[in-house]
């Protein structure tokens, strides 16, 4: 008596309505995890204040650039104080120098009417950190017809 085992091919199984063992649409192997699934362990990308808010920097915007400058000496704060990423720190420094050369900012002091601006970081010369509303501080003052007379 012969015993024969019926072996169904994938085509045969498909005709009978059985699972063909083929991968679902868009996948090569059904046993492997989904290829288009996002990595659940991926860390979120951290960005500095200027990159996160996509703040446009301009050498004419002395108010925005003065936020990264010391009010006492007029010197640019380092990256460990401002908390910016390296390309943005270099860009801010470049624009501050340009602004000073063109006559929008001072080299030795920070303007008194900029002192009440919200702090983007903890000033080393002041007390505890000041929680800054990012939307307010990232609003650049455009080159308008405002006359900046003596702020005192």
């Amino acid at each position: 008596m012969l015993r024969c085992r019926l072996v169904l091919t994938a085509v045969g199984r498909g005709k009978l309505g059985l699972s063909t063992g083929a991968a679902p649409a868009g996948q090569t192997d059904p046993d492997m995890p989904l290829a288009d699934m996002p990595d659940p362990y991926k860390k979120p990308i951290k960005k500095c204040v200027l990159c996160r808010q996509d703040v446009p920097l301009d050498y004419k915007n002395a108010r925005l650039l003065s936020q990264f400058v010391s009010p006492y000496t007029g010197r640019i704060y380092g990256r460990h104080i401002t908390g910016l990423c390296q390309p943005m720190q270099e860009r801010v420094a470049e624009l501050v120098k340009k602004s000073q050369k063109f006559g929008y900012m001072s080299q030795n002091i920070k303007e008194t009417f900029f002192l009440s601006d919200p702090a983007l970081f903890r000033n080393p010369l002041s007390g505890p950190s000041v929680a800054a509303p990012a939307s307010k501080s990232s609003k650049p003052s455009t080159s308008s017809t405002e006359s900046e007379k003596d702020g005192n």
Binding site: M88, G103, S106, S147, K149
Partner: protein, 134 residues
């Protein structure tokens, strides 16, 4: 290519400011510039001690922003004309390619913010302390 000039003029009277602006724009035209627009940024207290090329040290200046187009090398042609200008305090020219600067993180480059550049800094740059045996 496009340029922009931050013109700072002395404020004596409205007529003087107008005359200063006319003469400085004339310098630009003589250098072969095509002036697109002139923005009046108003009268401001000067943020630093500026010495005018001709005359005393003013405390207040009238700021103008001039957008123009000219062949490259306009700064060298403009310098001798500005040197003896009696109305001007400063008139630096900047080209508009600065506006093309793009954040590295926006082009898809991985931002290294928050990551240590040198993770093994302490191990690599440790200083041996103690007595040397020699």
């Amino acid at each position: 290519p496009g340029f922009e000039q931050t013109l700072i003029l002395k404020c004596a009277s409205r007529a003087d400011v107008a005359a200063g602006l006319r003469s400085n724009l004339g310098h630009l035209l003589r250098c072969g510039a095509v002036i697109r627009s002139v923005d009046n940024l108003g009268e401001r207290r000067l943020p630093l001690n500026m010495r005018a090329p001709v005359g005393d040290k003013p405390l207040v200046g009238h700021y103008f922003l001039v957008h123009f187009e000219s062949p490259p090398g306009v700064k060298d042609r403009l310098r001798p004309l500005q040197r003896l200008d009696p109305f001007m305090i400063r008139g630096h020219v900047c080209d508009k390619t600065e506006a093309d600067w793009v954040r590295p993180c926006s082009t898809g480059e991985q931002c290294k913010f928050g990551e240590k550049d040198k993770p093994n800094f302490e191990q690599a740059y440790a200083v041996k302390r103690g007595y040397r045996h020699y």
